[in-house]
């Protein structure tokens, strides 16, 4: 059974219903009426939902850049897939990304290397593996590959859409079920262990889910820009929230606004989707930060509780 097709069947009527109310020429036609666009749009929505949850946890664990590392690894995987002329590069990316995530985690837990250093090694090593084999056997960098670097939403074909849906569903389920476990393990791992929480196993599972989620984002965002969706909305929400609950809510609000506005402007102005989404996310961060630290203190000078 093809989960992607089931989801598509479920959501397409909704998108077509919304189409007349959507602004823009290309935006409304492409994303709400054409099949390839609808697929891409839904993929972007799922990926945003997952990366919002994931982002908050990544920040709490001080792993903001692991997404970047794993995205580069995935890109190496895509390059290898092209060398082997595979039609489903995401499988290669998924394989390499998960293996790397597990090794990075183990290196960190066994205190052989710090998280940053091991991410650095894998980021460059796997990327280099892809690039070298591409040069020798695959004829160098082509258009298709550029899409994986900077994001090209047109790369989301039926097979990829299916993979993205499965990864998103599994990740969301994992993050909802384990959210408290992940929280206490990042706040006080020792106390968690004493309470009988499987700190190590849950950390490993979290790494694997992160690896898979990053792969699902590579086509929409591009390997170089994955971090923008993974970290920026969560970081923006940290500026204004005071509880975990509100952090999650604001992260989703900022994530979806970035992606919707990014998709709109990228289709109207014909720019890359990934870069536009990343730019919008960064601008939102800038606006919120300015308001929070520049405007708000002026408005309430007597109030010092932030």
């Amino acid at each position: 059974m093809d989960i992607g097709q089931i989801i598509l069947k479920f959501f397409v009527p909704l998108l077509e219903f919304l189409a007349p109310f959507m602004p823009g020429e290309t935006f409304s036609k492409f994303f709400f009426e054409m099949e390839i666009g609808q697929q891409a749009f839904l993929a972007a929505m799922f990926v945003t939902l997952v990366s919002g949850f994931l982002g908050v946890f990544l920040l709490t664990r001080n792993l903001a850049l692991i997404g970047d590392g794993l995205a580069h690894v995935s890109f190496g995987g895509v390059a290898l897939a092209i060398v082997f002329s595979s039609t489903t590069p995401l499988y290669y990316a998924l394989f390499l990304s998960i293996i790397s995530a597990i090794i990075i985690y183990e290196l960190q837990v066994r205190e052989i290397l710090s998280g940053d250093a091991s991410i650095g090694i894998f980021l460059t090593g796997m990327l280099a593996l892809g690039l070298v084999s591409l040069r020798i056997w695959g004829g160098g960098i082509q258009n298709d590959i550029e899409g994986y670097l900077f994001g090209n939403i047109l790369l989301v074909d039926k097979e990829s859409f299916n993979i993205i849906c499965i990864i998103s569903i599994v990740s969301i389920m994992f993050l909802i079920l384990c959210n408290k476990i992940l929280l206490i393990s990042s706040i006080d791992p020792l106390a968690a262990q004493i309470q009988g929480i499987p700190v190590r196993a849950s950390g490993l599972a979290f790494s694997i889910v992160t690896a898979a989620a990053v792969v699902s984002m590579v086509q929409v965002m591009g390997a170089l820009l994955v971090t923008a969706l993974l970290v920026t909305p969560a970081a923006t929400s940290q500026l204004i929230s005071s509880s975990i609950r509100t952090s999650f809510i604001w992260t989703q609000i900022f994530g979806f606004s970035s992606v919707l506005l990014g998709l709109y402007y990228s289709s109207e102005l014909e720019t890359g989707t990934g870069s536009m989404i990343a730019l919008v996310a960064a601008i939102i961060f800038g606006i919120v930060a300015t308001f929070q630290f520049g405007v708000k203190p002026l408005l309430s000078q007597s109030d010092n509780t932030n």
């Binding site: 709490t60 408290k180 929280l183 990042s186 020792l190 309470q195 009988g196 509880s243 975990i244």
Partner: protein
């Protein structure tokens, strides 16, 4: 009266990276006791706590928790742990006091539940009330003072229904006033709620005033007795086999600094 002491340590030796940190330690802590654990840096205080909690494995000897010869999950569940760093919540986490204390109610049987049960909520409220943070229960932990944060972390341990609370340097970074009220609060926990407390501290003067019993640990137990009979500086130096110090140098401050002198 109390059938099972929270802690019985028999002949315990622990090595860390091939160095003997604890050498044949034996001690018993009874229910409702407030024990201060002092000693120089590297003297094995934290190692002892971590071994009690089952994080480090002893190379020799035995630890019994609540009469349990091979401490299992259910006896660890009665333990609470407040580390020196626990109140330094990572900057990237925005969490309220209530959310933090809720995490204390997690255990292996309810950790996958996405919601908090009524029973858990009651425990959380009780714990917050006990540490006196009701008025700030919805405030972000990083906006609290050092002393309040430390109380929030203790509330988390209380919410797990810990009977035996281990604290590692809870007084570091806490101002004098909060320090005193924190100690008074811990004392109260022992007296009124029959909790047992083992607390590591550098601040000998402070802990001497509050605890019932003091243990001086430097690889072996150098002193174990009531807080009022805790030796002065000269005697302590003698116990440690150091050069005796002139008695007129003995001020509270000097006692406090003793450990640092000893390390050099």
């Amino acid at each position: 009266m109390h059938a099972d002491s929270p802690l019985v340590v028999e002949n315990l030796s622990v090595k860390r990276s091939k160095r003997v940190v604890l050498d044949s330690i034996s001690l018993t802590i009874n229910c409702g006791e407030f024990v201060g654990l002092v000693g120089p840096n590297g003297g094995g205080k934290t190692t002892l706590l971590l071994t009690i909690l089952g994080i480090l494995k002893p190379s020799r000897g035995k630890i019994k928790l609540f009469g349990d010869n091979n401490p299992s999950r259910s006896s660890f569940r009665k333990m609470g742990w407040v580390s020196q760093h626990a109140s330094n919540i990572p900057k990237n986490i925005k969490i309220t006091v209530k959310e933090l204390v809720q995490l204390g109610t997690l255990n292996s049987s309810n950790m996958f539940w996405p919601t908090i049960s009524d029973e858990q909520n009651k425990r959380v409220e009780k714990a917050i009330e006990r540490v006196g943070l009701q008025s700030v229960s919805d405030t972000n932990v990083s906006n609290l003072s050092g002393g309040q944060r430390q109380r929030a972390v203790i509330a988390r341990a209380l919410a797990s229904e810990a009977e035996f609370i281990l604290l590692d340097e809870p007084l570091v970074g806490v101002d004098r006033e909060s320090r005193n009220s924190l100690l008074k609060f811990l004392d109260n926990l022992c007296h009124h709620y029959q909790k047992t407390i083992l607390m590591v501290s550098h601040d000998i003067t402070a802990i001497k005033q509050t605890s019932h019993r003091m243990i001086f640990l430097e690889e072996k137990i150098g002193f174990d007795g009531s807080a009022s009979s805790f030796p002065g500086l000269a005697e302590l130096a003698n116990i440690r086999g150091l050069q005796p110090v002139h008695n007129d140098d003995v001020s509270e401050n000097k006692i406090y600094q003793l450990e640092d002198i000893g390390d050099k």
